[in-house]
Symmetry: D2
């Protein structure tokens, strides 16, 4: 553990992603000190606390009250986000909040409003922005390497569906899976979307239909400056985790291709074969480290949020508009 000037962090919620943040705070983020973790599932809180040498709490409220923290990481279920941001605002603590910011625009508005009025430091957990490949793409676009951006195109495909219980409260494919892609589209185009048309279908896993959700979906976007966008999401890519993005400019194109686990290929009677990447946790391991390191940097001495509450709200607004378009079968306009 590092002895440099620390940012003392408590983690609220240590499920899959919260536990990953705890580990990165304990082991990989230069300026971080993992002080404590809180989770209503006490056995889980204890296990993670022991593993990384932190204190444990069953209640986030209690942790925030008792510990001398410099910041909190909130990785609890999405419906609890607003309440936890409120606790942090009351304690004048910087917040790292997992994505999506909320499941409804009302909740997102509330969070953005709390954050903006209080002036606390706030960073949303859009991890993909910290991925070396995506951040290189953004940098090259910002440097004008492909000229004016015209069309953005994203593809996100999961190799299996989430559990039934999760689907019900996930917000649907556009909110749960494609929200990263909507954020990418907004971030890479540096523009707002004015209109979205979307379609969804359920062809492989009938359970999605039960909840008005889809296992495959597409959306097309029109931006303020008249650029276009395509967002494609799937739960049925049985061949692996498939995540690609491209941006067409008037002087070139940038592609972010799939990542590989190995640089190993086999040539035999079947042809030339390489592995596809299995899952997002390893795909974005580096991004998760950079994200939480970036948060500690921001807390320690930054003045501009790497991913603001307003940006999180905007991606959600777009995802909800896509969901509405798919359900209604007509275009949805987004006001300025």
């Amino acid at each position: 553990m590092l002895r440099l000037k620390h940012v003392r962090v408590g983690v609220c919620g240590v499920g899959r992603i919260g536990c990953l943040h705890a580990e990165n705070l304990a082991c990989n983020a230069e300026r971080a000190e993992l002080v404590s973790v809180a989770d209503p599932i006490k056995a889980l809180a204890r296990k993670i606390a022991d593993r990384f040498g932190a204190r444990m709490y069953a209640s986030s409220r209690e942790m925030i009250k008792k510990e001398r923290l410099d910041a909190v990481v909130v990785a609890t279920p999405t419906p609890t986000h607003a309440k936890l941001v409120e606790l942090a605002v009351d304690a004048h603590l910087p917040v790292f909040l997992e994505k999506p910011i909320a499941l409804t625009l009302k909740e997102a508005d509330k969070i953005a409003s709390l954050v903006n009025r209080s002036g606390i430091k706030f960073q949303l957990g859009f991890n993909r922005r910290w991925d070396p490949s995506y951040s290189k793409a953004e940098k090259e676009i910002a440097e004008g390497k492909i000229g004016r951006t015209l069309v953005v195109k994203t593809c996100a495909r999961d190799p299996q569906p989430p559990p039934d219980a999760y689907i019900k409260h996930s917000g649907g494919i556009f909110v749960d899976e494609c929200i990263h892609d909507f954020d990418m589209a907004l971030w890479l185009m540096k523009d707002h979307v004015r209109q979205v048309w979307a379609m969804g279908t359920t062809l492989v896993y009938p359970q999605f239909s039960k909840y008005g959700d889809y296992d495959n979906a597409v959306a097309i976007l029109r931006f303020s400056n008249r650029g276009l966008g395509i967002v494609e999401g799937s739960r049925t890519s049985t061949y692996g985790y498939d995540l690609r993005t491209e941006i067409l400019g008037d002087r070139g194109q940038i592609q972010v291709e799939n990542w590989k686990e190995h640089a190993t290929r086999r040539w035999d009677k079947s042809g030339i074969t390489e592995d596809q990447y299995p899952w997002f946790l390893t795909r974005f391991a580096e991004a998760y480290k950079r994200e939480i390191t970036g948060f500690c940097e921001y807390v320690a001495r930054g003045d501009r949020s790497p991913v603001s509450a307003d940006e999180g709200r905007e991606a959600l607004r777009l995802a909800l508009a896509a969901r509405e378009s798919a359900r209604k079968g007509s275009a949805v306009e987004l006001s300025r």
Copy 2:
């Protein structure tokens, strides 16, 4: 030139594509004999006739009347298609007709009706179906290699816009450029489209706006069996000719990537660099040869059209629906 059992062919119209067919008939198609060419631009007809050892005519009508032909290739401007198919039908001659079948559904209906009633052999010039990469994709899908097809996605980008004079009569980006992609979508999904939503924009070449056309456009499709489709067209890929297709199935995915002119890469301070393909005529050189060879095979002894008039009409109907959707700003339904 080959002395095997010949199919004696006359070519109507020897512009860019007609001349290419003439060359392939003269040099590359095993069963073919190029007998004559016709073009109202006499100097052009003479030049091509001389080059490939054929007779020349200024009038297709006269050529069909005077020459003892086994088949005609029609590569004249699209508005003349119906008239020339009529001449061929009257002469009981098999016809190879360049794409698109027509610019209006009315004309397409007329041609399909002429062909279907007369029973003449007819093949439409969707050259992409004959490309080794695309036909391998279709074959693997037909063999069930990726299971049930769920989503088809195409991308067609031209490195420069056509001349102004051409734009005006081209039918627009959906009809002129994307018609191949609509045909691919129908062919690979083996299904009909029930609904199309499209958007277009003009960001780089203002001349497109003059004619109600776009320099970039996207469309999403819903198929009868509930599959989805994405079609993307562009006139602004300054980096080269960019043509890709992919099909997602419930057991895998097939991608048709860009073709390369060279297998040569350079590694230097700028990174690792390879060339992008410059233009469709060389990209599809092999497909054009196979297409006209396939036509001669079909004339000599086939009984089922490789690309029927009805298929050409269906792709046009879809392209026109996309154009209408983009113009109206709403979905367009296609009846069965």
Copy 3:
């Protein structure tokens, strides 16, 4: 067939490669006219002659005497090369001679001497020089794109062994298969080799041992200007035809990778799979066309041989040195 100013060509020997040259002369080479073919196997000569509309001869001598030819293509078995070049020299006819120039240095010297003294136009059939990928590599090196060349590395692997009867008279793996690679090494480095060390082994096909030949072999080269080279040959690449070359310079590297038949890839549970190229005849179809077209250009109006007899002799000298090194188990020096 083309009616432009012709180069009237007769082909001596219409086995696999001779037949390919005949076809390209008849169909693909702009300035060429295939006048006649000669082969002692009369049925073969007749078949090819009929197929391409040429006259047939059982004797090359008779063909050269009787026909009014502008050039001959010699694709007869290697031991007959010297005699046929002599006939062409006597008739003052330009010669295209298939590779290898000869199987012994003595024969190669004889041919080079005949050609050089007579001053006839002469081109050796190193088809790989005409391949778009390889010629692009050579051009970029000549333009200084990778600076001073330091190391050349070639790999040539055949998916199956030649027939036993062929092995016996082939000259061995270095002369038969690797001679192209030795030519590439000399051509791309623009230098002479001063020393060669080689090793061979027979691990899969015992028949090679019978003739003192190998099914896998490697050689390292030292050039006059102190560059280094690696040549690797194999008869055992059961996965396909595998042909790659790279050149390291002090400012970068150029790679010629394997060619693909398709731009199609499949993603499924086995990973991402693409086809490897099956065989050299299709791999180099374009190179064979360019080679014979280049020969006709050279005959019609060129003044410098694209591939001279001396270059053919130098590649053979290097191949024979490698064979000697592998047999003796010691380095072989090559004099200036």
Copy 4:
């Protein structure tokens, strides 16, 4: 830091690689506890100790005597390896020793003998064996995926030369750079080398000549079971760090290609460009973590060394034989 059952480790020597091991022990290896570091450069020892919360020593001897350690990592200059292994043997401590095992066969023999007689646990630092791509290759070969191995080929190119002062004591390109490749060749072929022929040249950096060293070198190998090998090393790949390996079997081929930092490509007028990997420390970051984690596993409960002293000695013997062959200009035989 983790609170699981620990392996308490002291690190001797905290230069570039020693410091990396210290960091991985402190942050990334599950079973490890970094207890202390020792380096005669006190300021360096203090800095690293402070950074990772460990105690510092100026003397490895003192550290081993005073601390209650479970194992030591030795990353001191190669000439000190034997002495430090001796200290560890006297203290009955497991040792992780950086590569190369020694610079002379005599020293390597001494170390192997110390280790083998004492029976202490010992692991040599051939990090490449722990790289996911290389270990996948080895696993697939062991599973028989490519059948019997016939030829192994390695390429290792550094983008810049080491400092002059380093070159002098490095042992030369074969020992310093290619020792990894010799180890890979032995490990992947699961065989011994009987004969090596090597050539070196100095074309770009004249300083290498001063020390009888080369900036580019190649070697060919003959294995006991008659397989062949090619090893290529360079200090002049100005385009980046270039590291590739392939193994030909009688049923297929496995390639380990270069690793990428980004999955991002740009398409513009220059073509399609991606970055090459800049340097080995990042290339092998994961391998270094796995290596030291593997060592702690081995110390905690393993019984077979992942990389034994004898294997380190064998790779050195081969590297020294290559150096001798290049210097003498003749083959070098290696006894059983």
